[in-house]
Symmetry: C2
Subunit: 324 residues, 2 copies
């Protein structure tokens, strides 16, 4: 059987304040500010901020809903960490970078033979930089982070689950991943060629209480896997429905892409998505990406109301203008 | 806030063989055979069999997918028991009835002051008859079960959860239920006037391993709550999406009703549904309900293929013809 989803597109978390989120992703992680828009569900105006590597590639796109209005409860059934790849030998730089910027972080650790440092977003969200010798996707350059140290994109998400078995069944049977390793509490699953951008890791935490599934600051809302086109999403939806995952959503128009969501056993929300036309380049060109707020056409009639309800943010110029 | 779902419509389980399912629901539980149709998702032909009280009322409709092709795994995150109401003083009859028919059952027990007997479907599914002095919905009469002892409809479902908190949040915040009692491991939630057909009970089983979410014999697939019309479903979908339950499905045409599904924290699949036009009377009148297989119009072109793949069943005449 051919499975339609080939790797990550984006990972979306609920942050707290918008400005601290911008500062964290553009200055600490060193991502590019790729798009400013809004959450397209619900009635309350919430930012949807996109950050990425230099080429705005699927599999490098971290996004956030700054959701200071309500805290989420971290726990199992959630993404425990989002892992970015960096080049071999750069962790000493990152350790120094986190220390200099007073970012809460852990000592260098290792799983499946790869070294990583876990560090925290101001809202409590957990991220990792992991050395990966095979990943050469182009990182964004900032005043503090040079080309050699920059983040290539996602290695993947680490999902906390109280039990492995049913989540494993979903990953293999519904998504076509294969189990490729066990390292202590970590169970690794890969798709296609494996490695960066093709890996989902389960962290088995049998005693960890369940986290919340609603929007709430300090929790990841979903991971999004990428398919080629609308047919891929329809095919994935059919796989879900044949198996009995009947909650799989309709294919939604997210303006820049199309999306379909399904809850996976264990609790993590999994989006399937594909580009819609020119994708992120639909409403701004390369030279202007991420510099101002864009609303989808169907929000334009209430744009003035939306604007006043959002926290004003200042995006560092170096997050939207490539270094010379 | 007004919530749009007012009680149960149906509860759907995956059984094993079709004939043993028919025998169990019509002869042991004494329900009416209300409709024979097929599962409307996926490519594999699977029966969808409907059983109900005498009036085929929402809140009395037990349905099954005979899914002998694959076993499910019972566990937490599933409906642990489906509870039917019977009149006060009838449990001695039911105990005798189960014994006479060699149905696996437990001794009379009690929760929240109501006596019940738990008994097992041939596939292992668990059901209960619970005495309820306030429920006068008309039961179906069989040669073995008279009007006085017959099943009125659902009291409700008992959901097994490893943790109560997040499921409780869903029931109260997304569905508008209120917590009305705690009795040992049982947490009771009610909506509207409460009582029969308005109750969801959580069974707190912190150490029980998670069951499967896919179609599989011996597991309940979903509970379905009832709203007045399509607007009610759209309203419920908007509530889900505003909160962040983004997997809520599109509103699906199930021919007899319209349906929308969402996974609730803890793991149980919750359908919201409303009648479509004449509902179950769309394709057969009262005198002919449940007597033969009906396919929705969009399945008619492959009806001969579907027919040959289904296990032939014989429905007892007394399950479709009211006693004089």
């Amino acid at each position: 059987m051919n499975y339609p989803l080939t790797g990550y597109h984006h990972i979306t978390a609920c942050a707290g304040g918008a400005q601290e989120d911008v500062n964290f992703f553009t200055q600490i992680v060193g991502l590019r500010m790729a798009k400013q828009t809004v959450l397209m569900d619900g009635k309350v105006p919430i930012y949807h901020l996109y950050y990425s590597n230099a080429k705005l590639e699927p599999g490098s796109v971290m996004t956030s809903f700054p959701y200071a209005r309500k805290r989420g409860r971290p726990g199992s059934g959630q993404v425990q960490s989002t892992t970015f790849t960096v080049s071999k030998g750069t962790l000493p730089f990152w350790k120094e970078h986190f220390t200099r910027n007073k970012v809460d972080h852990d000592p260098i650790a290792e799983r499946f033979g790869q070294s990583f440092i876990r560090f925290r977003h101001p809202s409590g969200l957990s991220f990792e930089v992991m050395e990966d010798k095979d990943d050469s996707r182009p990182g964004w350059v900032t005043p503090e982070i040079g080309k050699g140290e920059s983040v290539h994109g996602f290695h993947g998400a680490v999902l906390s689950v109280r039990e492995v078995e049913e989540t494993e069944g979903f990953l293999t049977e519904a998504l076509g991943f294969r189990k490729t390793g066990l390292d202590g509490k970590y169970h690794r699953f890969e798709t296609g060629t494996g490695g960066a951008n093709k890996t989902i890791t389960l962290l088995h935490e049998p005693d960890r209480r369940a986290g919340s599934w609603t929007f709430g600051a300090g929790t990841v809302h979903h991971i999004a896997l990428w398919g080629a086109d609308d047919d891929a999403l329809a095919q994935q939806k059919a796989i879900y429905e044949e198996l009995g995952y009947t909650d799989a959503s309709e294919i939604k128009d997210r303006f820049y892409f199309h999306s379909m969501y399904c809850r996976c056993p264990g609790g993590i929300l999994v989006e399937s998505c594909c580009n819609a036309g020119a994708g992120f380049y639909k409403d701004e060109d390369e030279a202007h990406l991420g510099q101002k707020l864009h609303l989808p056409p169907w929000f334009e009639d209430r744009s003035s109301q939306i604007m006043v309800e959002l926290e004003p943010i200042r995006v560092p110029e170096t997050a939207t203008h490539a270094a010379a």
